[in-house]
């Protein structure tokens, strides 16, 4: 049985797709057969971030409607043969998603894969709801600013009340906090909420902090998940996150301000 992970946030533009691509790649690189599904029907992005947009033939909705088999629609990643992408349909909208259809696809994937990563669309409507409904684990991606934190809080409420696990009274979804686009220097100036502020508001287990980084934009534009850029701080942060998720004990990084050369030399 696969572990189903939803990457969600409520708010848009916080880094859900970047995170989905990175952790799916991270899990696959460690030898776990992983599938990543784009639930953002109508606003398909994951294929771009994963660099497989030219190889899309069939999509998630085709599979739900029985127009294609899962094997026909799954795209094998060119960097890692343990990773498969199920793209969203660009020509349809979220109404094309049905609970029964999504359930069937996830069930079928569960037979073959160890991890299924569901990249949720923004919002709390149908697409986001179905992305999280079947989840075992939730990665809640939050930016260190108040509106993102509140939307995440709302999403956490839905995870604990509107998911299949909640409806069946099973063990609740495991929730993890991923704080992205974090800039310690701006926290210091008081422009940005600190890790402690966010944890105080959400009271959630922190899986990792991803620093604001140019490498994320570069990675997106080149269609290579940022986790493969092992020299970049964001790539390393995602590496840590995958390791911690799999049970490794790694100290948190990127929370404190990077010292410049000048400060290092003079101990400032």
């Amino acid at each position: 049985m696969a572990r189903i992970i939803v990457v969600t946030s409520g708010k848009g533009g916080v880094g859900k797709t970047t995170t989905s691509a990175a952790i799916a790649m991270g899990l696959a690189k460690r030898g776990h057969k992983t599938a990543v599904i784009d639930f953002d029907v109508g606003l398909r992005n994951l294929d771009l971030i994963m660099g497989c947009e030219r190889r899309v033939v069939y999509d998630f909705i085709n599979v739900i409607n029985g127009e294609a088999s899962l094997n026909q629609a799954l795209i094998r990643d060119k960097h890692c043969d343990q990773l498969y992408i199920l793209p969203a349909s660009q020509t349809r909208d979220k109404d094309a998603l049905t609970q029964e259809g999504v359930g069937k696809v996830l069930e079928e994937l569960s037979k073959d894969f160890q991890y299924v990563v569901c990249d949720s669309p923004a919002g709390i409507e149908r697409g986001a709801h179905l992305a999280m409904y079947f989840a075992d684990d939730a990665f809640v991606v939050t930016n260190p600013e108040v509106s993102s934190v509140r939307d995440s809080d709302r999403m956490l409420g839905l995870l604990s009340s509107k998911s299949r696990r909640a409806e069946r009274n099973e063990e609740p979804i495991k929730e993890y906090l991923l704080l992205s686009r974090y800039a310690p220097d701006r926290v210091k100036l008081g422009d940005m909420l600190s890790v402690d502020d966010v944890q105080d508001i959400l009271s959630l287990h922190l899986l990792g902090v991803i620093p604001e980084s140019k490498s994320v934009l570069t990675a997106s534009n080149s269609g290579v998940p940022v986790i493969l850029d092992e020299k970049s701080d964001a790539g390393q942060a995602y590496g840590d996150i995958v390791a911690r998720y799999l049970g490794e004990d790694r100290p948190h990084r990127f929370i404190d301000e990077k010292k410049g050369l000048f400060a290092k030399l003079f101990g400032g």
Binding site: R150, D151, D153, R154, L156, G157, L158, S160, I201, S203
Partner: protein, 241 residues
Amino acid sequence: MPTDAQNTPHHAPALEFKSSTFSVPVLVLSSDDFVTIGQQLQKKIQLAPDFFKNSPVVFDVQWLNKHNLAIDITTLVAIIHKAGLLPIGIRGGNDLQNKQALALRIPIYSIHNSLSAEPKKAEAAPQAVAAPNTPTTLINHPVRSGQRLYADGDLIILAQVSAGAEIMAEGNIHVYGSLRGRALAGVQGDTSARIFCFDLGAELLSIAGNYKISEDMRGVARNKPVQVYLQEHALIIKELT
């Protein structure tokens, strides 16, 4: 709570005694004629069969004993059983009646501190003491933004209440965490209801419709443990010390 000196600290106790109050109908008897009792009891039960089905009942024979009508408890219990009620106590019995009751494993309740010991009405009537049933709702997970909770009685929350969440109770509200959302106590008009919280950061506080919004709370015990209550229609927020 009894404690056992031999209890080792890492052994979780398998049981504990707690005191609870229950609302139980009391059957106050004013006739010793079993036929009449049986008939009238059936009649009363017909009025609300679901309410009385397997209902526990305490029977009160004080009035009878005062008028020297010593009723036979064994027969009485049989009649009550036949009516579908479950007798769980005797009140106002004499020594013999109490012995009979104990032989049937029915506990004896003392007549003291009961307000309705003396029945006002002369007719044999089961006095169903229907005190309002107000269970306490206990929540031990965070109440997140957008979630709403409603409790018939008291509401106890052992976690935080996020901004954008709304908690409502007909009775009191206790929040053993940060209260950042809206809290409305006594929503059915109970002006004696109170709100207690460990860390005040509420968007709105209300008791029986009298409310204060966050802006009105500036400077008053923010992020402190407080209690909130009504005093002559004014909402008082008082720091707990």
